[in-house]
């Protein structure tokens, strides 16, 4: 008679299949089990298989009240818990790039040393990129976008910086080399956050002025325009976010809600990028999702992103008592509030939960090792 104490014997491929169902914390521990398990768990294709099953979460940057206003701290919202990861290094870190394969870049727009930190919120691992100063003086600000080329499985960081005389574009491949210049970048810069999808990064900076989405092929390292016929979408103001939903680019226009005109937000899904076709979906938000106007001007009361398939996640611009978001299910047309309780691991006394413009991103739980990617072993 077998009992629960006897070891099971199952083939390796099934053991590793079971591992893809585990949370990252367990996987990090199980790297100790044996050489083979460590090898598998550290493998990028395992990380990819694991990610396809894993939950998504939010990373937010908020100002810190206990110190100079310019200081920020990160908050992660996941599994019903708000947690303040202690990520060292950058004194004014507040800008978060979009997330690629579960990790992000953290930087600060106005940092003349152009410091960049790679951070994986799931493994709590952080790596500082070798610092580089720009050649010109008179630096103003820089923006960082993270990209992934699936054909070569390489990660690249694109940065745009300006010293007042036009915009400079450079690219860096994680794991080797130095920053390289890119020559055909848009002359008016890139201010809105990009989204990396299927080997290209997309920005909506030119959408209103030039009827096109700007795209950058991560592998080829070339910019291109994805045109949109004029009148294909009608945005009402500036309170819109470009998101990725179910493998498509979409623009969610929050204008009417933010301006207290109505409870309707409009989602424009870029169904057919080849032919420039956008499909509109009007979404009537339930009353409980509508934020109170913020007492501070210039700060948005509502943000949107997509964490889970078929859902929009609405995030209030300021949290009054609890940390929470609204999950709107597009097919059911229903929303629910999801609350995150403050983790007892952290000190919340200097809590000032006001989201700043670049401080929000959705990320997937990922066991990926930054040290492996950057070849620091």
């Amino acid at each position: 008679m077998k009992n629960d104490q006897d070891p099971v014997s199952i083939p390796d491929d099934l053991s590793f299949e079971i591992l893809t169902y585990l949370p990252v914390k367990s996987l990090l521990r199980f790297k100790c089990v044996c050489q083979k398990w460590r090898y598998v768990i550290s493998d990028p294709s395992f990380a990819e298989a694991h990610r396809s099953r894993s939950a998504a979460a939010l990373l937010i940057s908020v100002p810190n009240m206990s110190s100079h206003y310019m200081m920020s701290s990160l908050v992660s919202l996941k599994d019903g818990e708000a947690r303040r990861p202690i990520v060292p290094v950058l004194p004014y870190h507040r800008n978060i790039s979009q997330s690629v394969n579960g990790f992000v870049c953290i930087y600060q727009h106005y940092d003349p040393s152009l410091r960049v930190l790679l951070y994986n919120p799931s493994t709590r691992e952080h790596v500082t990129l070798p610092s580089t100063a720009v050649e010109n003086l008179g630096f103003r600000f820089h923006c960082i976008t993270l990209g992934f080329d699936p054909s070569t499985k390489t990660y690249k960081i694109l940065r745009v910086w300006t010293g007042g005389r036009g915009f400079n574009y450079q690219i860096f491949t994680l794991g080797g080399g130095a920053w390289r210049v890119i020559n055909d970048g848009p002359f008016n810069g890139l201010t809105r956050k990009g989204i990396c999808l299927d080997g290209s990064i997309y920005w909506a900076d030119n959408l209103v002025m030039r009827n096109s989405i700007l795209a950058f092929d991560v592998g080829e390292e070339k910019f291109r325009s994805v045109p949109t016929p004029p009148g294909a979408l009608a945005l009402k103001g500036i309170e819109w976010d470009m998101i990725e939903i179910d493998g498509h680019i979409a623009i969610v226009d929050l204008h009417d809600v933010v301006e207290s005109i109505s409870n309707v937000i409009i989602m424009w899904k870029f169904e057919d990028p080849i032919n420039g076709v956008w499909n509109q979906k009007r979404i009537l938000l339930p009353k409980f999702c509508i934020p109170k106007p913020l007492p501070f001007t210039g700060y948005r009361p509502l943000f949107v992103t997509s964490i889970d398939s078929g859902e929009l996640t609405l995030i209030p611009g300021q949290f009054f008592s609890d940390w929470y978001v609204f999950r709107y299910n597009l097919e059911e047309g229903k929303a629910r509030k999801e609350v995150f309780s403050r983790s007892p691991e952290n000190d919340w006394n200097d809590d000032f939960p006001l989201i700043e413009f670049c401080g929000l991103c959705a990320y997937k739980e990922s066991v990926i090792s930054l040290r492996e990617i950057c070849r620091l072993l």
């Binding site: 070891p7 099971v8 299949e17 585990l22 367990s26 044996c34 050489q35």
Partner: protein, 150 residues
Amino acid sequence: MITFKSYDGETFDIDETVAVELKTIKHMMEDGCAGNEIPVPNVTGKILAKVIEYCKKHVESGKAEDQAASDDLKAWDADFVKVDQATLFDIILAANYLDIKSLLDLTCQTVADMIKGKTPEEIRRTFGITNDFTPEEEEGIRRENQWAFE
């Protein structure tokens, strides 16, 4: 009606609609390789009975259209996997061999939930794995991800 014959000679009569849930069998039937009695050599009668029970239930429930039916099925699934560890792993092996995706998914998730809190040593005992790290190597891995061990 299709008849399955397990590794240890037990036979089971099953409706065709249930039989096709086992993708391996479905392909055999489509290829015309299946006669009146289909041998299932890798699976014992005890496990095959469980697998068939699962497939029957899921075919009967069809596409659970309403939330109540869907919740009932989930509750049934939760009960279904309340078996001893050895049986659970045997069902995983069977679900894999017979290519029953939803059963494989259910059982893998169940095992994952069972083991997620274990220490590396407990995992080695469960899976019969020898520790081939030196104490220094193992300590190195622990230090890299200290928080995961707390």
